[in-house]
Symmetry: C2
Subunit: 258 residues, 2 copies
DNA sequence: TCACATTTGTCCGTATGTATC
DNA sequence: AGATACATACGGACAAATGTG
C-alpha cells in the first residue's frame, strides 16, 4: 500500500516537454527512424495546435537529447539523427569538470573499464570484428607512412574492441572514456604526438596478432602493457576559481555583429 | 600539416548555443555555484543584448544538460542546480532503448561493473563510508519492520559503494546502472517485491559485516552471490514496430484543455 | 549570376498560469 | 484576497541561411 508515487505531481509537465516526449516516443518505437525528416516548425505547431515557441522549446530538448539535428535553409528542418552517444560523452566530461575530478581517477577507471571490455571482446569477437580491427591497423599504418598523425584511427581501435564485446553498455562507456581522453589530449605538444601514435599503432598490431594467433593470456598481457596513463601534466579540466560569487550575478554581454 | 580540423565549421554556432556555453562556463569555473539564482529571462536578455526567445532556447539547453532548473512564480527563475548524473542516466536508458539492447546484455555489464566498483570500495572505503552504509542498512530494516518496501534504500546501498570507491567515474556509471535497473523493475509484481527487498537487505548486512570484520575474499564472494540477475521477463525496453514510416510523417495532435 | 521559395533564427508585444508576499 | 514577479505561451513580423530555377 504505502508505496512510492504518492507525492508525484510536484509540478505539472510543461506542454513543450509533453510534445518532446511524444516525438521521442515516435522515434523510440520505430515510427520515426534516423534519416526521416520532420515537418517544419510551423507545420508541427499547427498539428499540435500550439504556437511555434512551444515547438522550438521541444526541438531544443530533442536536439540536446541526441534524437534530432536541425539543418538550416530551404531544404532544412528537423532531421531524426541518433547522436545520443555523443551527448552522453559530453555530459560525462561536464560531470567530471563539475566535480573537479582528477586525471588519476580517470586513469584508474579507464584501466579497469578497458580491461573488462577487452576480456569480453576476446571472448565474443567474430570474424567481422577481427577484420574491422585489421582494417583499422592497416589504415593507421598507411596514414603514418604518409606522415599523417592518425590519432583518430588509434582511438577507433578501442571503439572497435567495445563493439566486438557485443555489449552496447560497454560501447557507451568506452565511447565516453575515449571522449574524455580526447578532451585531455587537446593541448599535448605536437612533436611527441606522431611518435606516440606510431608506438600505439605497433602495440595495436601485436594485440591483434595475439587475438588471432596467440593465447588469451598473451593478448591480455599485451593489452595491459598497452594502457599507458595519461600524464597528469595534460590535465586541463578546469578547477581554478574558488567560487565566492553567491547571490545574483551579473552576466557579461556577448559581442554580436549586427 | 594535413591534420584533421580542415572541415570543421559545418555550420556556425547559433547565438543561443553561444549564450548557453558562456553560462555553462561560468558554472564550470566556479563563478556560479549550485544554489545561485540567475537573473530573470528579460534581465539576462537585456544583459546579452538579445531577445527573450534566444535566452529561452539557451535555458532549455542548460536545463537539459543538467546545469540549471527553472522554478515558477514570484521568487522563481533559473537556478543553478547540478542534475547532470540524472541526465546521463536518462540518456543511457534512451540509448539502450534506441538500440533495442537486451536485458542479458545489461546483466552481463552490470555484473562486471558492480564487481569492479566493489573491489575499489573495499580498498578505499574510509570510516565515514562504512558508517553511511551501516546507516543505510539500519534505515532499510526500520522500514521493513514497518512493512514498507524500502526499494530506494536498497538501491542507495550500491550508490554508497560507488561513493566509497573514491572514483567519480564509478559513481557516474553506477548511477546509470541503478537507473537502468529501476527502469526494468517498474512493472514487477508487487507481491514478490517486499520479500525480495527483505532478502536483499539481509545480504547487504552480511556484505557490510564482511567489509568491516571479515576477509577481503569473503566480502567479494558474498557480493558476487548478491548480484542476482534481472529476470528477462521484466524486460520492457520497447522493440515492437519495425519502422517502415520513411519520409515526412504526420504527427498526432495533443489534446489540451484550454 | 540572380532572384525566389522555404525554413530556422530572432525580435517584439501581449496574455496567462503560478508562486510569493 | 490582492498585488507582484516570474516563466510560459501565443501571434505576427523580419533577418539569415540554403537550395532551386
Amino acid at each position: 500500500m504505502a508505496d512510492a508515487k504518492l507525492f508525484e505531481p510536484i509540478h505539472k509537465r510543461r506542454p513543450f516537454e509533453q510534445i518532446a516526449d511524444e516525438i521521442k516516443t515516435l522515434i523510440l518505437d520505430g515510427t520515426l527512424n534516423p534519416g526521416d525528416k520532420l515537418p517544419s516548425e510551423p507545420e508541427i505547431a499547427s498539428q499540435f495546435h500550439v504556437g511555434r515557441q512551444t515547438i522550438r522549446d521541444a526541438m531544443r530538448i530533442l536536439e540536446q537529447s541526441g534524437f534530432i539535428s536541425i539543418e538550416l535553409g530551404a531544404k532544412g528542418g528537423p532531421l531524426v539523427k541518433d547522436t545520443i552517444l555523443h551527448r552522453i560523452s559530453g555530459l560525462f566530461i561536464d560531470a567530471l569538470k563539475m566535480r573537479r575530478s582528477s586525471v588519476e581517477e580517470f586513469n584508474v577507471a579507464r584501466t579497469e573499464l578497458e580491461n573488462i571490455v577487452f576480456r569480453h571482446a576476446l571472448a565474443n569477437a567474430d570474424r567481422s570484428d577481427i577484420e574491422a580491427l585489421a582494417e583499422n591497423v592497416r589504415k593507421t599504418k598507411d596514414k603514418l607512412a604518409k606522415k599523417e598523425a592518425a590519432w583518430d584511427e588509434n582511438v577507433e581501435f578501442h571503439r572497435l574492441l567495445a563493439k566486438a564485446s557485443k555489449n552496447y553498455l560497454f560501447v557507451i562507456v568506452m565511447e565516453a572514456v575515449c571522449a574524455i581522453q580526447a578532451d585531455f589530449i587537446i593541448g599535448t605538444p605536437k612533436e611527441s604526438t606522431i611518435d606516440r601514435v606510431r608506438v600505439t599503432a605497433e602495440e595495436h598490431q601485436k594485440i591483434l596478432d595475439a587475438m588471432t594467433a596467440g593465447t588469451r593470456e598473451e593478448a591480455m598481457r599485451l593489452f595491459d602493457e598497452h594502457l599507458v596513463e595519461v600524464p597528469a601534466k595534460y590535465f586541463r579540466l578546469f578547477g581554478k576559481k574558488t567560487g565566492q560569487g553567491r547571490g545574483n550575478v551579473e552576466l557579461e554581454p556577448t559581442k554580436r555583429g549586427r
